[in-house]
């Protein structure tokens, strides 16, 4: 059993208004249970999640970020989630350069009916992040540098 380094990882969850946010509502109505580590931020589409938001979240002390959108081909706005997919690949690459582990950024397609999937994903993510040290310590330098460049 790996050591628990961070018992309460803090996670920002970007939920698409049309699918994952509704899935989260259904999880609630069905009284499913998942870890309270996720603070939901609803956006009209996962396509509204700017790559910068992910880094903002880490700079503010997040240990993980979940971006949840509609399944590919089912985006309410036709192709928004394809853009998200592309952007998040880039974000993950950049994050790796900055020393942010891959497990900390998760992109999931969660349809309205998939409340169970939401629960599985959140549980899994929390379990994984518990075994990583808090993210905030390692990012201090990077973000400050970024801020001065602004």
């Amino acid at each position: 059993m790996p050591e628990i380094l961070n018992p309460k990882p803090k996670i920002v969850a970007f939920f698409c208004k049309w699918c994952s946010s509704k899935a989260a509502d259904i999880a609630g109505v069905s009284r499913m249970e998942y870890p309270p580590n996720f603070i939901p931020i609803m956006t009209p589409c996962s396509g509204r999640v700017e790559p910068e938001f992910i880094f903002d979240a880490f700079a503010e002390g997040a240990d993980g970020v979940l971006v949840a959108g509609c399944h590919l081909g089912e985006c309410h706005y036709v192709v928004g989630n394809y853009k998200t997919l592309k952007r998040m690949i880039l974000v993950k690459k950049l994050a790796k350069e900055m020393g942010i582990e891959e497990e900390r950024i998760r992109v999931e397609w969660i349809a309205t009916a998939e409340a169970k999937k939401l629960v599985t994903v959140t549980n899994d993510m929390v379990n994984k992040l518990k075994h990583l040290p808090p993210c905030s310590s390692k990012l201090k330098g990077v973000t400050q540098e970024e801020k001065t460049n602004d």
């Binding site: 946010s21 603070i39 956006t43 928004g80």
Partner: protein
């Protein structure tokens, strides 16, 4: 951390935290949420908790606070915005605030209901409310954009549900287009012999409706067609309909039937469930609407040039044209009603029931066709293997239904009652026949349905509680192994004919159509309604309505009721002179835009164009749907999404991760 004391509020925000009885208060310390938010955020000038915000006294408290505390915007921390956002927005409007100055913090569905620890629940609730405080602080007051409504309605699927919806709309004066994949309308109801529990002849009650569709001046019928693309939004959907040719000109065809006689190709008839023959050019059935022949290009020899043209040679009307091509018809509709119905579960997925290898094992729709007087056996029940009258007939229910481990977990709802009907009709046709029904439970909820099953039992139908484990051929009989779950006996039954009642599954192509419509499906592939109890025929997409078995298994009365419900919902949209389009749209700050064109090509709605003269991007507000995908791509920050600006979202992220100072 900002220190609250030395900051003056930029905007006077009120926060109202709902107990929702115990629904929220059980896992969230609502008083602490209200107190902490006021301490933490200087813009929050008033905060309180209330037992039921949505109640009249709750709403009055908000209204009083708006006036008494001069609130400029407020947050309701309560249930999902899908429940009461509209309530509180209209309350704001009544109290003189712009509705977009209201935000809902969902601390019930996304917090109290999914957590059990009150400390953790409270902390999370504070953060959720905090994000909304940051958002509402920067919210602009917006006015909905007014757009025209196209008054036409599209009905996809011409079964009884679609027919009812179309007739109701057409009678109310709206133009309706029905798109049906089959060459005829009526759907599965057109295949039934009689309907339970009244034993009305199905065609006799259906054909007045199909005929009304054919002759209604407000209804246009497009058969052998499918919807292949949908774009736009409520009030203005642009729809591409692909029409496969019939190869018979319906205006010329006088249904003389000479072509059918001349056709040398015989294939199993889909309408008869494959137990009867049809030609490659055929009239699906006597009462078919549209009343015209259709040529099945997959089986016809003549479509491939010079092989055969027998039908064309005998057609005096010159109605047959092998050169017809598929066409795409593009139309605009205000509302779309989806009534795509069902198929039967593929019983080949249950190999232990020998459906296919043993021809005397048939499905319920095939039995239905046998019972029909005008059907392939002229209303006689005959064994397919030797065309003899069966002496023992066994009905098996729940074939694929209520089997979560292997097949479908749900109850298909109609099988108990129609099996009762089948068993009863079998007994009527041959009182000496031994008729058995194997069932798990009898579920015959509906007016007169339970009595109907009892009538079948009184007529001598033997009901045995148990699901066969194996059905197999033994000589000229079909054998069933089954355990009677009431007595514990193991039985081996010899039958002449076995009729299976397969699960009801979404019709073929449902997934493809749902993709085109962007409508959600449930885990079994049925459409999902936007609220199971309160919005039973609305999809999550405004202006797209779903009715009938496309949502879940239903009997005819329920399907008809939903068809009418969808029509009435459609009218609530179509009757409006103008529709209001959500004003949450992208905007361009032309001072900042450098004309890099990164955003160009990202918009699926063509809402973004480029002004070459001024070298800036321009947003068409009516076309913009407000996804914000272009905004996220803008490198200069010139593009913004109203009330979801980069600044707002960044502050929300900060609030989500904030640690309490107290």
């Amino acid at each position: 951390m900002p220190s609250p004391e030395n900051k003056k509020p930029k905007k006077r925000i009120g926060v109202f935290v709902c107990h929702c009885g115990k629904n929220i208060a059980e896992t969230v310390d609502v008083e602490r949420v209200a107190k902490t938010i006021k301490e933490e955020y200087p813009d929050v000038v008033f905060s309180t908790d209330n037992h039921y915000l949505c109640s009249e006294p709750g709403q009055k408290e908000i209204q009083d606070a708006i006036r008494g505390k001069n609130l400029e915007s407020f947050i309701c921390a309560c249930c999902s915005p899908s429940m009461h956002e509209a309530t509180f927005r209209s309350l704001a409007e009544k109290s003189g605030l712009n509705p977009y100055q209201v935000e809902i913090a969902n601390i019930r569905e996304q917090c109290s209901w999914v957590h059990s620890d009150i400390k953790e629940g409270t902390e999370k609730a504070i953060k959720i409310v905090g994000t909304k405080v940051e958002k509402v602080a920067e919210n602009e007051s917006l006015t909905p954009i007014s757009v025209d409504v196209n008054k036409d309605c599209l009905v996809i699927g011409g079964g009884i549900t679609g027919i009812q919806a179309a007739l109701d709309l057409a009678d109310a004066g709206y133009k309706v287009t029905i798109v049906e994949r089959a060459p005829y309308i009526g759907g599965h109801m057109a295949q039934l012999s009689v309907t339970f529990p009244t034993l009305d002849c199905s065609q006799c009650i259906l054909s007045p409706k199909t005929s009304a569709v054919a002759h209604h001046k407000n209804i246009e019928l497009i058969t052998t067609a499918e919807v292949v693309n949908v774009s736009g939004f409520v009030g203005n959907f642009s729809v591409d309909i692909k029409k496969t040719p019939r190869y018979v000109d319906s205006d010329l065809c006088n249904i003389c039937g000479e072509c059918e006689k001349a056709c040398p190709v015989i294939v199993p008839s889909e309408y008869d469930g494959g137990i009867g023959p049809r030609k490659a050019i055929y009239l699906p059935f006597a009462q078919a609407v549209p009343s015209t022949y259709v040529l099945d290009a997959d089986n016809c020899l003549g479509i491939h040039p010079l092989v055969c043209s027998k039908c064309k040679d005998v057609c005096e009307q010159n109605a047959i044209n092998y050169d017809m091509q598929p066409e795409i018809i593009t139309r605009t509709f205000g509302v779309i009603i989806v009534a795509t119905g069902y198929d039967l579960y593929n019983i080949n997925k249950i190999p232990e029931y020998a459906f296919g290898p043993d021809v005397d094992v048939i499905d319920s729709l095939q039995f239905e066709r046998m019972l029909y007087v005008g059907g392939p056996t002229n209303g006689k029940v005959l064994r397919p293997s030797d065309h003899k009258k069966p002496e023992t007939v066994v009905f098996v229910q729940c074939v694929g239904s209520r089997d979560p481990e292997h097949h479908m977990a749900y109850c298909s709802k109609i099988c108990c009652t129609y099996t009762g009907k089948h068993a009863m009709l079998m007994k009527k046709k041959d009182p000496n026949a031994e008729v058995y029904v194997f069932y798990i439970d009898i579920r015959a909820a509906g007016r007169g349905y339970e009595e109907f099953i009892q009538r079948a039992q009184e007529m001598g139908v033997v009901y045995i509680r148990g699901k066969p484990s194996k059905i197999f051929r033994d000589g000229d009989k079909t054998k069933l192994w089954v355990a009677n779950t009431l007595t514990g006996e193991r039985l081996e039954v010899e039958a002449d004919l076995v009729v299976l009642a397969p699960a009801i599954v979404p019709s073929k192509g449902t997934k493809e159509l749902a993709n085109v419509l962007k409508a959600s499906l449930d885990e079994y592939g049925f459409y999902k309604e936007s609220h199971m109890k309160l919005r039973p025929v609305e999809s999550y997409i405004q202006g797209i309505l779903i009715a009938g078995v496309a949502l879940s298994p239903k009997d005819i009365p329920e399907s008809v009721a939903q068809g009418s419900a969808a029509a009435s919902k459609a009218m609530t949209i179509l009757a409006k002179p103008k529709l209001e389009h959500e004003p949450i749209v992208a905007t361009v700050n032309s001072e900042v835009c450098v004309g890099c064109k990164v955003c160009q090509g990202l918009c699926p709605y063509d809402a973004l164009s480029f002004d070459n003269e001024n070298n800036v991007s321009v947003v068409n507000e009516v076309l913009c749907e407000g996804c914000g995908t272009c905004v996220s791509a803008c490198p200069t920050g010139a593009l913004s999404l109203k009330n979801y600006s980069t600044d707002q979202l960044e502050k929300m992220i900060k609030a989500a991760l904030r640690t309490e100072t107290t």
